[in-house]
Subunit: 227 residues, 2 copies
């Protein structure tokens, strides 16, 4: 009654827990050592299970790798869409609200463990699994950018911004907000909270300088919005 899953088809309990544990450890090792350098014994040790359990759960190294990427993709996308849902559609203070949004995006999606791991795996092994990463590309950046572009379009429609192409603006927003974190990302590190805040602040300020509603004689703005 507590759980909806049928008790006969669902294995005991820690079965799934161990599976998750293995995938987590595998993500860490694949990232650190690369696919070829990743050692199943090390993954098993880091997950706290025996090597045989790894094979029982995932078949072989390649299937394990695919499971890791799918897992990371799913969690990252969920996080990104949850964060986009917090976009300031009706900003009280546009600059502060956009900075706060950018910080959330960076902290919860780009700079966290999953985000950094997924990026590194895509960069390192993307060419070897075209269909797997095509899938990621469609589900992730494709839908992410569209969703963010829609939010910016709405801000422009409401008269808070002056935007030509919302898709371009969305990509540029993300680029600006991460401009100061590139080097840290390169080496796989996680930027400090302060770095994230500074990069977001500088990025949003430049973004608003470029896309702020053009100054017009008082009273004109509302007219243009509904024209």
């Amino acid at each position: 009654m507590k759980l909806a899953v049928s008790p006969d088809t669902f294995p005991p309990r820690s079965h799934e827990a161990k599976r998750v544990s293995v995938v987590d450890a595998a993500a860490s090792v694949f990232c650190r050592e690369g696919y070829a350098g990743a050692n199943i014994d090390l993954i098993a040790a880091e997950a706290g299970v025996s090597r045989q359990t790894v094979y029982n759960h995932h078949g072989d190294k390649e299937k394990l790798f695919v499971a890791v990427v799918r897992d990371l993709t799913e969690r990252c996308n969920a996080g990104i869409f949850a964060t986009i849902a917090s976009f300031p559609d009706q900003p009280a203070y546009l600059e502060a609200d956009l900075i706060a949004f950018a910080v959330r995006m960076n902290r919860n999606c780009i700079c966290n463990r999953d985000g950094r791991f997924l990026r590194k795996l895509i960069q390192a092994e993307g060419e070897r699994y075209p269909e797997l990463f095509a899938e990621w590309r469609e589900q992730g950046p494709g839908r992410t950018w569209s969703a963010l572009a829609a939010r910016f379009a709405r801000l422009a429609f409401a008269g808070h911004l002056s935007i030509g192409d919302p898709d371009v603006a969305a990509r540029q927003f993300l680029a600006l907000v991460n401009a100061e974190l590139q080097i840290t990302f390169m080496l796989g590190g996680a930027p400090t909270e302060e770095e994230v805040l500074r990069s977001a602040t500088n990025g949003v300020r430049t973004f608003l300088s470029a896309f702020a509603k053009k100054k017009l004689p008082a009273g004109k703005q509302a007219v243009l919005v509904h024209a």
Copy 2:
């Protein structure tokens, strides 16, 4: 008389040619397969030499890898500084000149073979060779960004731009100009000439919207230029 090197200490001739050939092939294979997955036999075959020759020239796999990274770093830095030398200090048409500069930067430094390879190697193996990549970081991005910031400061001083922090502006310029190429870079591909031009155009336009000299009553700008 043709060459300044002393003939006794310098090996025959194709010795150096083969060395270059091996380093080039190694760069390609290390990028494609990762350090652990790279196979010395494959590198030798791709370089058109025997395996033993690889060992004669470079000692072992790790030394070969270091040689590859140093080689790429050197060539990339040279290209970047050569390109920065072409920065439009006295622009006839600021937007067009900055777009052309951005395209040169992308095509000759960021998107070419060396740039893509170096980036991938840093991302994949950077954590394993801290001192090697600290060196790259100081010689490359550190000096590059400073040089570019100085050029932007000069443009601002000459009255063409209104910039708060030139270092921030330089980083944001690069981020904006590459904003639309991120996905392509992720998968290791090279963007088309058209993509490079579009990204540069959109990036420079937004950059200028943000940093263009504030509009002043007609006649003021020219005065400021020579002030």
